[in-house]
């Protein structure tokens, strides 16, 4: 029996779908059998991030309405043979799905996959309720902004009210220079006000935009720091203890750091 993980945030545009695509890909690249499910009916995007938008024939809606079998709607990833996407319908509405339907669908998927990663839509309405219905664990994506932290707080409250107590935080789009100059919320500030466990810190990275447009998750890029950060989150999901990355501009990966080390300046 696999584990269902919902990626949620409350606020829109913080990187839920990006996180879903990357964590799903990272888990699959580590040998797990993974399915990523798009919960954003009517505004689907997960297929684009995975680069699979041209392969959609059947959707989650067709499965629920029994127009096709579950297996027919699952799309196999281009790169990884043990990664699948369950897309949702673009021409339908979030209210066309019920919690009960999602619960039984997720349970069916859990029987076949090690990890079921659910991409939750923004907001706290029907779409949110559907996405969390079958989840065992929630990852809350938050940006270092007051608005995002506020909405995350509301969402955590909602999750607790629904009995989903296992939740962890991903701080996305941290800019270490801005944090240092005091212009951006620090990870500790966010943890202080939300009082939840941290599972990952993802740095702000221009490569994410490029990878989104190309349809290639950033975790497949070995050089990108954000890809590394996502891979670490995936390892922590599997229960490994991985130290958090250091995003200072003169860290081990930096050119300047290597130069300084070469000359013995530290």
């Amino acid at each position: 029996m696999g584990e269902a993980i919902v990626i949620t945030s409350g606020k829109g545009g913080v990187g839920k779908t990006t996180t879903t695509a990357n964590i799903g890909t990272a888990l699959a690249s580590m040998g797990k059998k993974v399915v990523v499910v798009d919960g954003d009916t009517g505004l689907r995007n997960l297929d684009v991030l995975m680069g699979l938008e041209n392969r959609i024939v059947f959707t989650l809606m067709d499965v629920l309405e029994e127009n096709c079998k579950l297996k027919q709607a699952l799309i196999k990833d281009k790169r990884l043979p043990n990664l699948f996407l369950l897309p949702t319908a673009q021409t339908r509405d979030k209210t066309d799905i019920t919690k009960e339907q999602m619960l039984s669908l997720v349970n069916e998927l859990k029987g076949e996959f090690d990890y079921v990663i659910l991409d939750c839509p923004a907001g706290i309405e029907q779409g949110f309720e559907n996405a969390i219905a079958g989840a065992d664990r929630a990852l809350i994506v938050v940006n270092p902004e007051v608005t995002s932290v506020r909405d995350a707080d509301r969402v955590i409250g909602k999750l607790e009210a629904k009995g989903l107590e296992d939740h962890q935080l991903i701080v996305n789009r941290i800019n270490s220079d801005m944090v240092k100059s005091g212009d951006m919320l620090d990870v500790n500030d966010i943890l202080d006000s939300l009082a939840v466990k941290l599972i990952g810190i993802i740095p702000d990275d221009r490569n994410i935009t490029i990878s989104t447009n190309k349809g290639e998750p950033i975790v497949l890029n070995d050089k990108a720091l954000s890809g590394q950060a996502f891979r670490n989150v995936a390892r922590r999901i599997m229960g490994e203890q991985v130290p958090f990355l250091n995003f200072d501009s003169n860290n081990e990966n930096g050119f300047l750091y290597s130069l300084k080390k070469l000359f013995g300046i530290k």
Binding site: R150, D153, R154, I156, G157, K158, E160, A161, S193
Partner: protein, 210 residues
Amino acid sequence: MLDETIIIKGNKEGLNAVINMNKFKDFDEMLDSLIERLSKGKIFYKGCTLKITTELKYINEKDLRRLKDVLFDEFLIKDCIFENSEENNNKIFSGIYEGRTKFIRRTVRSGQVINYSGNLVIVGDVNSGSEIYAGGNIIVIGALRGYVHAGVGGNQKAIVAAFYLQPEILQIGDIATRSPEDSVKPQYPEVARIKGNTIVVEPYLPNKFI
């Protein structure tokens, strides 16, 4: 409050009909409406005890007897108790030195509302966007950033205390205030209470309050 005219609810003491007399023109209109409501489940009410909560000052002796007659004869109700709703609302919680207290051992998050008639102790934070109401004191062992109302019902002697007191709006009894903007935010515990006719916030000093 609810704008429903007649609310029928069941609790552990039995059935309770809350009637808002202000919504009716006169007693007869209320009686017709009540009969209509009860008729829907006529068999259900047979032999039960019904408590009627309403503003008794609007009903005179004669009408009260008529109401009882209808309930006993038409609906075969066993017993009927009358209670004045105003008495309930005006009761001020007076146990701020010793009395009922609820402990909440978690963070109160945005969108959550906590309402308690006695004192409240929150072991955790109260985040912005949440609302807390207590009949008595409110003590937060953590940061208080939400909307907070102590002494609901009018107890002016209630206090609000927190390790970090930065509420959106702070109300004690019927006096409300909000945190000053653009000032230094104190990082030490503070206590708010009413002095004279305003809410005064002072640093918490053990000798002063215990």
